[in-house]
Assembly symmetry: C2
Homo-oligomer: 188 residues x 2
């Protein structure tokens, strides 16, 4: 997606060979026009999947997810990174953040997904795929099915895509970074 690649090149910051900061338009400050275009792109790609719900993880996945949800006319559920103590009937799992190098609990209310739900998972980044695996665990605990994975920025030099594709899912990433070297991005 050209508009997104330009935003990454012009407004992103390469911290090192592994870390890209995009908090000027995605992770902290949000470019609403770009997020809307991203949502429309996800909606177009997954339009034949009969998606009934979109699932994302708080907080950076919410903006692209709700614009996709608006286009597809389906609700968005954001899974929470917190103890499920205030929930009525939660499903939860232990997850691990490589970015923050710590464990956290990912949870959601069971009632918002059922066996008839066809779920599109949307997230801001795909790196090693651990966030997706945790989300998939909760979606399956609710009896629902993943029918697609929409990613804003993929670090193609990490194993996430292979891991998700091995499970037979369609992974659609809008920007695929093959490498970051000498302050430049090599696109896949």
């Amino acid at each position: 997606m050209k508009l997104l690649q330009e935003a990454i090149e012009q407004r992103g910051t390469i911290i090192n060979d592994d870390i890209l900061k995009v908090d000027s338009f995605l992770n902290h400050q949000i470019d609403c026009r770009l997020m809307k275009a991203i949502g429309q792109e996800f909606a177009a790609h997954f339009q034949d999947q009969n998606v009934t719900k979109i699932v994302t993880i708080e907080s950076s996945g919410i903006a692209p997810a709700v614009f996709a949800g608006d286009c597809m006319d389906v609700p968005v559920i954001f899974m929470k990174k917190s103890e499920p103590s205030t929930m009525l009937d939660p499903v939860y799992t232990e997850a691990f953040s490589f970015t923050k190098n710590r464990k956290y609990t990912l949870c959601m209310e069971r009632q918002f997904l059922s066996k008839n739900d066809r779920v599109l998972f949307i997230d801001d980044f795909l790196a090693n795929g651990q966030a997706f695996l945790s989300a998939e665990d909760l979606i399956q605990q609710c009896g629902a099915h993943v029918v697609g994975v929409g990613i804003v920025i993929e670090k193609s030099f990490q194993k996430g895509r292979a891991l998700i594709e091995e499970k037979g899912y369609d992974v659609y990433s809008l920007a695929r970074i093959q490498a970051m070297k000498d302050n430049k991005i090599l696109w896949k």
Copy 2:
């Protein structure tokens, strides 16, 4: 806002005289069509304020804020409830959550607001106003100015509105709850 009041009455859950759960359309699962209408309503109300940025607090404020941001064609910044250790030049403050009965650190990157910014603050709930005061603190630390406060659901039986209006700000709440009694909502 009639559509929102109907959603609260039909899909919200009154836990007790103080607590309303709206996680089926706002706080956990998001009704995108309703959030878009909410964003449009905020945009219409504050259209003459020359808003340059919208600020909200993660996570439940993000959906209404980005739809408003799309209408007004301005960026949204979501303040983070975390230690600002990964930020380059943060502003931060100690805040207190009455809902969770605990302190937390609210922070944002200083660079995303400047003295020329006219900020619309949007949040899902207004109760005692403490979240707004913490956000206002950060906005002012950046040298920017609050020009309006947009709230999805106001608990009018708490002191938040009075506290914000005393400072001279325009508070626009889309649903104002005067009381919750016997499982019924009395609108203001």
